[in-house]
């Protein structure tokens, strides 16, 4: 079908008053040869939309350039079922960020020039677009969710999946289901007023899982191998020595935590020196058996001390907070107090961390007489009357000694998931063999485990994208993902279940998941041009690309998040998307008008990441953070990772005076939505000076900055500062070539 582009310019929101709309229309019609060009004073209103719709049906328009506001607003209105569309922002990133005093002709002219350039690049972008061909596999997609781990996280996840109407396979390596929670006496409160111990929820949950027809339970089973991609995972499950392959759509890993080995703790905590020094799990088992006694002589334990942070937040043991131990120690203190009217429970803590409603539970334990001592246990000695603890009391600012019957060490949680260092070089050119101890044994070029975010936990961003690992379609829930208690684990499992369902549904439509949810395009590559340099396979932050024996990339489209990092990495420029390509952006930047050097109107190209920098730019105008230089021209990129060095060379050759790249924060505590995109762009950019040297240009003409979504306040300073730096240089000598 022939492409017929319609360009619609909105004159509302002050656009019509500020700009020469007729001239903008002429650019589209005469210069860009767009067959249908119209204005409307309220394009997003019913009439405006009806006008566009009419052209879609009557005029055969099938591609759209909508010029008006930012693409981040009025999405519903302009969702017209047209894939080839661009929103040209004349308002938020043009009108609203420029300072044009009444009657200032130069400023008005500058503004008009910016708007005209944006119309130009919008038209070029749509011309360079193709309709996406959603990916279809040669074998059928599965919508079954595999849940690995039969503890409370896995049970909850499987049940949530099943209740939503999907099939789940629940795999447990042991004989029985229930995990760590099965060993627990009671649980801390999960409902208002958050001050009563609650019965163990496991029996009820187990009965429900066992009674649900959508769940297939496989105990004594391990995952021997995981091949494939979302919708197409072929998982080899080994049940009691017999292996069978199951096709599943997505995977939830809920293998829980492993308690820190108390044998590794500092000797001063006394573990191993007396049977009366025990861990929280051992104490829980005592309580469940109804025997809170001294292990040494079986006498009732009425004085119980809990040492919180037994190894946690200690650089020589577990660096991080385990999140749940304060609360479970409070719970265990209540066991003690409720057991004997004259019992005492001592909590020796660093800080009591009781997030959310657990603060009420903390008060409850205080009110019941729990004794809180901020400090460290420095020495434990045992005698006939029990254990003697020497504690450095940070509140009394003195050492104190106390006698107790039991000392309970609240040890921390470690993940059970095998992870790999995300920054370590990936094994090049070969598939990774099965790894003993690996949970999923992924047959991915980048290794059998999941990349870790921090402290071996396999997340991709705890706050922004919980459950998302860096392997698409594989979600980790509960303490395997980060340390957490029971209530949080159940919420987490439900969240992961929804993600797992979302991915199987998206994949079946050929659509991407987070962060470009719904994108129907996927990277295609021209094999003849490939030099087997392996940059794409190595740089893909999501391990989406495998390799054949010759080193050619093997794309797994359903693993792909459409970040474009492979496209930016490929020196041969042979990777592209139907709606995004090196040629598209290159053509856009070349289409803008570069004034002669004598005009003293420099041009600064700004590549801004759509995830954080573009929203921040949109907020500059809204929050009246200050005006931006009229000499900038913004081109949004879907991720800095997609930045191709060719564009920098093209920009310089076209006469831009400078290029500013605005990507997300990278490195530790990164905020890049595609994990490594902005980091990789920075690495690529370090080579740009070669290009600039070749062109005999100053390397300071190209600069990358980190922009956070909250940075609207500082952006004017950042951008205008760069424009000033560039203006201080001579104009780019390539202007006019």
């Amino acid at each position: 079908m022939e492409k017929k582009i319609g360009c619609y310019i909105c004159t509302g929101c002050g656009i019509g008053d500020a700009l020469d709309v007729k001239a903008l229309g002429n650019i589209a019609t005469k210069e860009q040869k767009i067959p249908v060009v119209k204005n409307h004073e309220f394009l997003c209103g019913t009439e405006g939309i009806a006008m566009i719709r009419k052209d879609l049906t009557d005029e055969g328009v099938n591609a759209l350039v909508i010029a008006g506001c930012s693409h981040r607003v009025k999405n519903e209105e302009f969702r017209l079922g047209i894939a080839q569309m661009d929103r040209v922002d004349l308002r938020d990133k043009c009108l609203w960020v420029l300072d044009v005093p009444e009657g200032d002709d130069t400023a008005e002219e500058d503004r008009q020039m910016m708007a005209e350039d944006y119309i130009r690049i919008g038209c070029v972008k749509v011309k360079k677009m193709n309709d996406p061909n959603p990916y279809e596999a040669s074998t059928p997609f599965s919508k079954v969710v595999l849940v690995v781990g039969g503890g409370i996280a896995g049970l909850t996840a499987a049940l949530e999946v099943a209740r939503t109407g999907y099939q789940a396979i629940l795999v447990e390596k042991g004989e029985t289901l229930g995990g760590q929670v099965a060993k627990m006496h009671k649980v801390s409160p999960a409902r208002a007023p958050y001050n009563k111990l609650e019965e163990n929820p496991l029996p009820m949950l187990l009965a429900e899982v066992k009674g649900n027809k959508n769940i297939r339970i496989m105990n004594n089973t391990v995952v021997q191998k995981t091949v494939g991609a979302p919708g197409l995972f072929d998982v080899t499950l080994n049940h009691n020595g017999t292996a069978a392959v199951e096709r599943v759509g997505s995977i939830i890993v809920a293998t829980g935590f492993q308690a820190y080995d108390p044998g590794k703790l500092d000797k001063k905590l006394g573990y191993g020196s007396s049977p009366d020094v025990i861990t929280s799990m051992e104490f829980e088992e005592m309580a469940k058996a109804g025997k809170i006694v001294r292990k040494s002589d079986g006498k009732p334990a009425k004085r119980v001390a809990f040492s919180l942070c037994a190894g946690q937040r200690d650089t020589s043991h577990l660096e991080y907070c385990s999140g749940a131990c304060c609360v479970y120690s409070l719970k265990q203190a209540l066991y003690v107090i409720e057991n004997h009217p004259d019992a005492s429970a001592y909590l020796i803590y660093q800080e009591v961390r009781t997030p959310g409603q657990m603060e009420d539970f903390y008060r409850k334990v205080q009110n019941e007489g729990g004794i809180f001592i901020k400090g460290d246990v420095n020495k434990v000695t045992s005698g006939s009357s029990g254990l003697t603890l020497e504690v450095n009391d940070k509140l009394l600012r003195q050492g104190v000694t106390m006698e107790v019957d039991l000392l309970v060490l609240a040890t921390g949680m470690e993940t059970t998931m095998d992870t790999t260092d995300p920054n370590s070089a990936s094994p090049v050119g070969k598939q990774v063999d099965e790894l003993p101890g690996s949970i999923l044994n992924l047959q991915y070029r980048q290794g059998p485990g999941l990349p870790s975010l921090k402290n071996n936990f396999p997340d991709s961003h705890f706050i922004c994208f919980p459950y998302e690992t860096r392997r698409t379609g594989i979600y980790v829930a509960g303490p395997a993902r980060r340390p957490m208690g029971i209530a949080a684990t159940c919420t987490d499992a439900a969240g992961a279940a929804l993600k797992a369902i979302q991915v199987v549904e998206s994949v079946a439509r050929g659509a991407a998941v987070h962060p470009r949810a719904g994108d129907l395009s996927f990277p295609s590559f021209r094999e003849e041009g490939c030099t087997q340099c392996k940059r794409c396979t190595e740089e893909c932050p999501f391990g989406a690309i495998n390799e054949d024996e010759k080193g050619n990339p093997l794309f797994n489209p359903t693993r792909c998040r459409r970040c474009g990092t492979c496209m930016g990495a490929c020196p041969q420029k042979i990777i592209s998307f139907a709606n995004y390509s090196v040629d598209m952006i290159g053509s856009m930047l070349k289409e803008m008008e570069i004034p002669e050097a004598d005009d003293e109107k420099p041009r600064i190209l700004v590549f801004a990441c759509e995830n954080d920098a573009i929203p921040a730019l949109d907020m500059v105008g809204r929050s009246h953070a200050g005006a931006l230089s009229p000499y900038i021209r913004i081109i949004p990129l879907r991720c800095m990772g997609s930045m191709s060095l060719v564009w920098i060379a093209d920009a310089m050759a076209s006469g831009y005076d400078g290029v500013l790249l605005m990507g997300c924060r990278h490195g530790t505590d990164y905020q890049c939505h595609n994990v490594r995109g902005s980091a990789l762009a920075e690495i690529r950019l370090s080579k740009v000076s070669e290009t600039l040297d070749r062109l005999q240009l100053e390397s300071s003409r190209v600069k990358m900055v980190e922009v956070n979504i909250m940075d609207a306040e500082t952006l004017p300073q950042v951008i205008n500062g760069f424009v000033a730096e560039i203006s201080a240089l001579d104009p780019n000598p390539y202007k006019g070539f």
Binding site: V352, Y362, R363, G369, F372, K374, L395, V400, T401, M402
Partner: protein, 198 residues
């Protein structure tokens, strides 16, 4: 033995609002809010006193002068995230120490409250300001009294002029003084009952 709960329980039961002490989470907001802290007037902040109660440091708490330094500014009460009625707890501890005979009789606020102020008000049923002031000035002997009196002379004259100070030291008993005495008697009875001394 530290953290023996006998003393804590004693305070929770007998000292005014004392049971609140167990709810303190030791955040230190009271310590940071108390003007007496900036003046360096106490050795232990409210929070520390509370932890000392919980730790069972009976003598240290009861013989401490810290709680006698409270000016009742209520800064701490307003700010305590755990809603402890700190000012009242502090006053309660002061009183409890006094009742237990542990408070230093010469500690100024204690001495003033217990002897000077109390005797003054009980004698007539009203505050005799001049007498009260004299007693306060002369509590450390004649020489000190004269010195302090001279220091404050201008203020006193100003207050006289503004009719904020009655010149006559003695204005006699209030109307219905026997009723007032009967009320006090009953109050003592109730209090003794509560403290198990009846």
């Amino acid at each position: 033995m530290t953290y023996d709960l006998t003393f804590a329980k004693e305070v929770y039961e007998n000292s005014e609002e004392g049971h609140w002490i167990k709810m303190c989470m030791q955040c230190g907001v009271c310590a940071g809010s108390c003007p007496m802290g900036f003046l360096g007037a106490w050795t232990h902040s409210p929070r520390q006193l509370f932890q000392m109660v919980r730790a069972g440091l009976r003598d240290e708490v009861l013989s401490s002068t810290d709680m006698w330094m409270c000016t009742s500014c209520y800064n701490c009460i307003v700010r305590c995230p755990r809603n402890l009625p700190i000012t009242h707890i502090i006053h309660g501890l002061a009183r409890y120490a006094s009742v237990q005979g542990k408070a230093d009789p010469k500690q100024s606020t204690h001495h003033f409250a217990k002897d000077i102020f109390w005797e003054n008000i009980v004698a007539t049923g009203r505050v005799g300001e001049a007498a009260l002031t004299m007693k306060l000035y002369f509590k450390d002997g004649i020489g000190e009294g004269i010195k302090q009196g001279l220091e404050m002379k201008d203020s006193a004259l100003g207050m006289l002029k503004a009719k904020r100070l009655k010149p006559l030291p003695f204005r006699g008993k209030i109307k219905g003084y026997p009723g007032f005495k009967a009320m006090l008697k009953k109050a003592f009875e109730l209090e003794n009952q509560k403290e198990g001394k009846a």
